[in-house]
């Protein structure tokens, strides 16, 4: 019986490793072909590169203006995350602690947009954001993510807030601390785990988002995001696959490094976000 089980496990393990290799092979091919010369890519995609063609990277980094794109992504994501965390956590805190018809109404108002698909509002969004002066700039795009990120983040914060006993902040308030101070010095530190969840979910979304940046910041090369620029680049160089692959690798590399470094938080955050959201 035991021996039979052991053999079963070994067969399963071998099978899963094979499936895993096939599964990830396309990503491997992308990396591999980014190190080949044009001739090598055209003659054989699956062969290993004869030598590492670093020149591809130098050319593409320069052509794409990679440092600029990276900075744009960083600014957009940071602004987005900052506002989403700040405004969602404060709203969730007050709406949970002061239950009334008024707060209930505001809560429903804030979370209902989770039901509205982005594509339903994108046409008029462009008009609205241009009139507000938020289209065409990196910081404007960052601010736009506040509106789109707040509903789900508030929902997640609100559900978590219920698990924090009210005595904690009530005693601080009785001691004369203001609500703002109580929130920032006592409640916010207790929200650490859920804040990590919110940050992880939103970083993954904002960093890789395509449609909103396409509508808002695609006009000038100075405001493009990584993914957007890779999209344009691959469109322009669609026969020069060695450059296209390099551009794609450069676009996904930050996400992959982010994932490898913070794997545990990312997987936990994704699970928590999906189950609650």
């Amino acid at each position: 019986m035991m021996k039979k089980q052991r053999t079963g496990i070994i067969i399963l393990e071998t099978l899963m490793i094979l499936v895993g290799i096939f599964f990830i092979y396309p990503v491997f091919l992308m990396f591999m072909n980014s190190f080949k010369t044009f001739g090598e890519v055209v003659s054989n995609v699956i062969a290993l590169p004869k030598s590492l063609e670093i020149a591809n990277y130098i050319t593409v980094i320069e052509k794409m203006n990679y440092p600029r794109l990276f900075l744009n992504n960083l600014v957009i994501t940071s602004i987005g995350i900052f506002g989403i965390v700040l405004f969602s956590s404060t709203a969730a805190y007050i709406l949970d602690r002061r239950r009334s018809k008024y707060t209930r109404f505001m809560y429903v108002l804030i979370i209902t947009p989770m039901l509205i698909p982005f594509q339903t509002i994108m046409i008029t969004l462009l008009k609205t954001m241009s009139s507000l002066g938020l289209s065409g700039s990196v910081w404007g795009l960052g601010i736009q993510y506040w509106g789109f990120g707040i509903p789900m983040a508030t929902f997640i914060f609100f559900n978590f807030m219920r698990t924090i006993p009210k005595d904690i902040d009530e005693s601080a308030l009785i001691d004369g601390a203001s609500t703002i101070r109580t929130f920032f010095s006592i409640i916010l530190p207790l929200l650490k785990t859920v804040t990590v969840t919110v940050i992880v979910l939103n970083v993954m979304w904002i960093w890789n988002d395509f449609l909103l940046p396409l509508l808002m910041v695609n006009r000038s090369p100075d405001t493009k995001t990584l993914v957007l620029s890779a999209y344009t680049f691959v469109g322009q160089f669609n026969t020069q696959w060695h450059y296209a692959m390099t551009a794609m690798v450069l676009a996904v590399l930050p996400s992959i490094i982010f994932f490898i470094l913070l794997q545990r938080y990312i997987v936990e955050g994704v699970v928590a976000g999906a189950v609650k959201g």
Partner: protein, 295 residues
């Protein structure tokens, strides 16, 4: 401080804490949503100063005059049904295998999750490269007819290609959710089943699957919503072609508004899309949560 004044400061405070969120959501979601409602009743190319009010004509046109909306709807529904089945079956299979005590379980879990963290646009390009370049070389190497087919050029095959690529990108995400679900099933239940001599299949269909109910509801719902909204992958992979074979509703809305400059008609389409997503999620949610088994 008297009571009235105190309650007033409390109300002001409440408002101050929640107001930024309310204002931001209103400006970025409700306002455009209401404007979409208005524009859907007009004809407007975005350049003329004033949209022309035409009542429900846009909605009539959607369902009568051989518009691309109906065919994009048919594609999107087919795509959604097939993707939901494929991605959930594959994710459950992977999850069941990877909760077993395999030495490589952790590495494999990360491996299957990687496509999910890659931007969908890039995922589309990776597979475009593989279908158009890599398959030629794989055919030379293996002589398998499978690699010699035109996976993006043939309308029927292109449909399966986009379903496959979409599922490849997201299966790791659902797998992680199912793994979390499986780990929350108490070990005693499984042991009790073993003692009673249940075989592997009986155990899976009679015990594991029903107890996975809430995970299944979550995953089915999320895969439904995500499949209905499919956009980036198709834009990168096929641009809706060949011959409209992979033309999704979201792509249709995008084209109508930003390429044909029909803001009014595009808004009507976008509202129909909203109704569709809302209806389908409600139906699926009701259908699945009724079947869940409580522990």
């Amino acid at each position: 401080m008297n009571m009235a004044k105190r309650s007033l400061t409390r109300d002001i405070e409440t408002t101050l804490f929640a107001l930024p969120a309310v204002i931001l959501v209103s400006l970025m979601i409700y306002l455009p949503f209401l404007l979409s409602g208005y524009y859907s009743l007009t004809e407007w190319n975005g350049i003329d100063k004033e949209p022309v009010f035409i009542g429900l004509a846009n909605f009539k046109r959607l369902f009568t005059g051989g518009d691309s909306f109906i065919s994009s709807l048919v594609f999107t529904m087919k795509f959604t049904v097939l993707s939901m089945i494929l991605v959930n079956v594959a994710a459950i299979a992977l999850a069941v295998a990877l909760v077993k005590k395999l030495r490589s379980a952790n590495v494999l879990r990360s491996l299957f999750f990687i496509p999910y963290i890659i931007s969908m646009t890039i995922v589309g390009f990776i597979w475009k490269f593989i279908f158009s370049q890599g398959f030629d070389n794989l055919y030379e190497l293996t002589q398998l007819g499978f690699f010699d087919l035109s996976w993006l050029g043939d309308p029927n095959l292109a449909f399966y290609s986009v379903v496959f690529v979409g599922s490849w990108q997201s299966v790791g995400f659902y797998m992680v959710l199912y793994i979390a679900g499986l780990q929350s099933i108490p070990g005693e239940i499984m042991e009790a089943a073993l003692v009673e001599g249940a075989g592997a299949w009986t155990k899976f269909f009679r015990i594991t699957l029903p107890l996975l109910g809430s995970s299944i509801t979550t995953c089915v719902l999320l895969s439904l919503i995500n499949s209905l909204k499919v956009f980036d992958i198709i834009l990168a992979l096929t641009k809706g072609g060949p011959g409209g074979a992979t033309y999704s509703v979201t792509l249709d809305i995008y084209r109508e508004a930003f390429q044909n400059n029909n803001y009014g008609f595009g808004s009507a389409k976008s509202l129909m899309f909203f109704v569709l997503v809302l209806l389908l999620t409600q139906i699926v949610l009701r259908g699945f949560s009724r079947k869940e088994v409580e522990l």
